[in-house]
């Protein structure tokens, strides 16, 4: 039990695990939707502490991993153009496009800048009126409101040299896709806490009822995850399938109304291709026609891109929970965070990176031994 000592409150962790153990009478498969939760689970060995028969299936909730290759290639092409300042969150730097990544574009002379916030990109646009500043707007419902506000501000302040390349994704349609897949083994969901901090929980009861699957809003810390698992297992054992909030300290039922209003103004729902998975109906947001001026896809002619995925990468199966990363033949040999074949090996939320950092040699590495990934 070497891991329990690493929990902030080992006694509480033990209590939750005992509760889970006492409740379980048969095997159950749960999916944690969010890649941040996957990292916590693998880092702390939570999957190995659970009673036998409780399986955690890692979900598609890594925004960097599911951003379609075509959008990545568009980003790379725009970033390489003279006169453009391309701004992005740090996670995107090493995500492989068809033949390069942003890191490479920068080393070849592209002006690629990493920002902490989309508002930093807007400031760069103000400071460089003679340059085109493009921000790479990806992420789930947590990241969409900051990006929406930034686009809104650009229009309000008439900052004409700012635009955004938008590829946002939404969690509920992804849950729908997982549940309707013929290979689906998932019986309960840990829903992503911070997505619900923004959106609230009202999209989930219908999903839970229709698919007869418990959905438990869960936080990101080890104890949060154990609590989410405990509540999901309790529902499963009782034959219940409701929405439960195990992260009330950060999630109110209505979410953040101001953020939701801004999302409704700036974005519109669209079908979106998820890298490695395929198109999921109504699973994304794009800029609404009112914000066409701020849309980088409209401003830059980037049509006619032909994409090429490395054949050996099985990240699509990993993202759908059909394959554990260490079952991929390239894992840890040909494919490492230094030489990633797929985005799931690059992102700090990718399942392949989590396994590489903490599970490569069979036993988890201590945090000090682990190489940081972007």
């Amino acid at each position: 039990m070497r891991y329990l000592e690493e929990f902030s409150d080992p006694a509480l962790a033990r209590g939750l695990l005992d509760d889970i153990r006492a409740a379980v009478t048969r095997p159950w498969a749960l999916m944690e939707v969010c890649g941040g939760q996957t990292h916590t689970i693998i880092r702390h060995g939570i999957d190995q502490l659970l009673p036998e028969g409780i399986e955690l299936i890692h979900g598609p909730g890594c925004p960097v991993c599911v951003t379609p290759l075509e959008i990545i290639d568009k980003a790379l092409e725009i970033a390489a153009r003279p006169g453009v300042i391309f701004c992005s969150f740090g996670d995107m730097l090493r995500v492989p496009g068809s033949d390069r990544d942003l890191f490479r574009v920068r080393s070849e002379g592209g002006d690629v800048r990493v920002v902490y916030s989309p508002l930093d990109a807007l400031r760069i646009a103000r400071e460089n009126p003679d340059r085109e500043v493009v921000f790479f707007g990806i992420g789930f419902e947590t990241t969409a409101p900051p990006n929406a506000m930034t686009v809104h501000q650009a229009r309000r302040h008439g900052i004409r040299n700012f635009s955004m390349l938008v590829s946002h994704v939404r969690v509920p349609p992804a849950i729908e896709a997982v549940m309707t897949s013929p290979d689906c083994r998932v019986q309960g969901f840990l829903a992503a806490g911070h997505v619900c901090s923004v959106m609230g929980v009202d999209e989930y009861p219908e999903l839970a009822a229709r698919h007869r699957v418990p959905i438990v809003v869960t936080g990101f810390e080890p104890l949060d995850i154990l609590e989410g698992i405990r509540r999901t297992v309790r529902q499963l054992e009782r034959g219940e399938h409701t929405v439960d909030n195990a992260y009330p300290r950060a999630v109110r039922p209505e979410g953040n109304p101001a953020a939701r209003a801004m999302l409704a103004d700036v974005f519109e729902v669209t079908d979106r291709a998820w890298r490695g998975i395929g198109t999921i109906p109504r699973s994304g947001w794009r800029l609404s026609p009112r914000y066409r001026e701020q849309d980088a896809e409209h401003r830059f002619d980037v049509a006619g891109i032909s994409t090429r995925e490395p054949e050996r990468c099985r990240s699509g199966e990993v993202l759908q929970g059909l394959l554990k990363p260490n079952q991929c033949e390239a894992f840890g040999g040909e494919c490492t965070p230094r030489t990633p074949l797929g985005a799931t090996m690059v992102s700090s939320e990718g399942a392949c990176a989590a396994y590489y950092l903490y599970r490569r040699l069979g036993a988890p590495a201590t945090p000090q031994e682990a190489t940081p990934v972007v």
Partner: protein, 97 residues
């Protein structure tokens, strides 16, 4: 990327018609937009994601989370220099020793 870090509001100021704050994340200080939580006051805690306060948090749970993140090195990951980290990983296809 969905990591959201709790921080404490140190100072509030209107800037270009936008409600902004200086927020302290266990020693690292950042500018944060308060437009989505306009009634957040100095001394209060919120979870912050990419420079935006998204939801209020009580002080005790905020402190606990910050302590845990600091211990796990997650604050460094969130606020550290991503170019350095990317360079550390070496150019694509050429593993660095």
């Amino acid at each position: 990327m969905c990591l959201a870090v709790p921080g404490r509001v140190v100072e509030i100021a209107e800037r270009d018609g936008t409600r902004m704050a200086v927020v302290d994340f266990g020693g690292v200080v950042k500018d944060v937009c308060l437009e989505y939580l306009p009634d957040l006051a100095v001394g209060e805690y919120a979870i912050v994601h990419v420079g935006f306060a998204l939801q209020r948090l009580d002080e005790e749970s905020a402190r606990r989370t910050l302590a845990l993140f600091a211990e796990l090195g997650l604050l460094q990951e969130e606020f550290g220099d991503p170019w350095e980290a990317a360079a550390d990983a070496g150019p694509r296809g050429e593993a660095k020793p």
